[in-house]
Symmetry: C2
Subunit: 239 residues, 2 copies
DNA sequence: CGACACCTTGAAGAGGTTCAAGAAATGTGG
DNA sequence: CCACATTTCTTGAACCTCTTCAAGGTGTCG
């Protein structure tokens, strides 16, 4: 665009250890830079992609926060995940060449657009990239196993505790606090993800606050007792 | 082994359209045969692999029926899927080089062992294979989205209806009846998969039978009214 | 400052679980 | 091949967790 436009380059990116393979040599790193065709800004509330749209790229989140959700024919809605900087979205689109879920920015966001054709090409040539792509998809499968465990076998308090611990852990990996977080999503969206109604989410937050486990002020949450949360998720592992 | 041992070859396999890419030329097809190192028989009740084991191969199911399940540290258990002939298991192991779930044969089974290293190698050379591997992983991600929708937003009857429809549809794709099926899993395993207790599964089966939607005799199920099941899953799409 | 979205809390109700007992099927060993 | 043990399934009744419905409070943005 203008002289201020920063070169789009993974090699310069401080997130690369989150979204790109490690241990590449310089020439490979240069080639990796070719993957990111462009960047794209998505204002809060807008879709990065929608269910049904043609798939042609994966997206690496540079800044901002997303939710992905699927919906059934009769309008039921389910949030399938919340994604933050360094994470990859769009994998759902590969199988049918069309996206099968919506990705919505929960705050102003920017993503790196990585053309899928280019990823395919390059990962034939760079073993580390091939392996990395496989790992990213496998990781998503394993993550979803965890969500299934949560939805299938945990009670409301356990679900919310697991949710908070997961969020704060991922934020911590990005340099944020271990004990303080700002929720980017509504109670309803949390509820949808956890298979609960928004009232239940709200009540459970209040209960945690009463018990002195967390402090809640709207979307600001401070975790006062991480151990208590862990104990909720894994009730006395020592039987 | 002996003169009766059949050559292990995808090119001869009547399941190849389920588990292998289509539209390969002869030379590519020959190379694909190299992927399957060996076959392995798993008697009913035995594990194909366990949580924690080293990962080094994917498995294509030739015959038999599997469940996969994850468990939390405190011993909670969640069935994450049921797999049948032509389907691939083991994808969970790629990310960490170790399996993160158990795969158990629910009836005597045989699988094709596909060394992961070999898959990686060959899919760098055969584009169709590379694409196929990606699609298989993406399909699994999308399938799990569906399960999350089910677990997060459906009631017991809807879950069981969706489960039956899904099973019978996959069986039908393998040449079995559209309306009759034999369940290979217990009520408890169904319940675990659907986030319900076995008693609820049993009661819901009975209710469906009372309503004339299905006939149940232990593990033998005959679907009398497919439309009714579909309507349960998608209550009046025409609002 | 008013409109709107979001959150909290209470009370009643429904759906699913838990506990319990018995029936049906399956497997095992004599 | 039958008897017995074991696993699996069904059904009932009481209970509990989460939902539903409702109302009011809080925060935000034009």
């Amino acid at each position: 665009m203008n002289s201020n436009s920063i070169k789009v380059a993974c090699s310069n990116c401080n997130l690369r250890e989150l979204c790109m393979p490690m241990g590449l040599n310089d020439s490979e790193m240069e080639r990796i830079d070719e993957i990111v065709a462009t960047r794209r800004k998505i204002p809060r509330g807008e879709n990065l992609f929608r269910n049904g749209e043609k798939f042609n790229a994966l997206y690496a989140i540079r800044t901002g926060f997303f939710k992905t959700c699927v919906s059934s024919e009769d309008g039921r809605d389910q949030v399938t995940g919340f994604q933050m900087a360094g994470e990859i979205i769009g994998l759902d689109g590969i199988v049918s060449d069309h996206h099968t879920c919506d990705a919505v920015a929960l705050e102003d966001a920017e993503v790196c657009v990585m053309t899928y054709d280019r990823i395919e090409e390059l990962s034939r040539e760079i073993n580390a990239l091939q392996r990395h792509v496989h790992k990213i998809m496998s990781r998503e499968i394993v993550r979803e196993h965890g969500v299934m465990l949560l939805l299938g076998s945990m009670r409301a308090e356990e679900r919310l505790a697991a949710f908070l611990l997961n969020l704060v852990q991922r934020l911590h990996a990005r340099g944020f606090s271990q004990s303080e977080l700002v929720l980017r999503m509504t109670r309803e969206e949390i509820g949808s993800y956890l298979g609960l109604k928004l009232e239940t989410v709200s009540r459970t937050f209040s209960k945690f606050a009463e018990d002195g486990i967390i402090e809640v002020k709207q979307r600001h949450v401070r975790i006062l007792n991480t151990e208590a949360l862990k104990l909720l998720v894994n009730p006395q592992t020592c039987q």
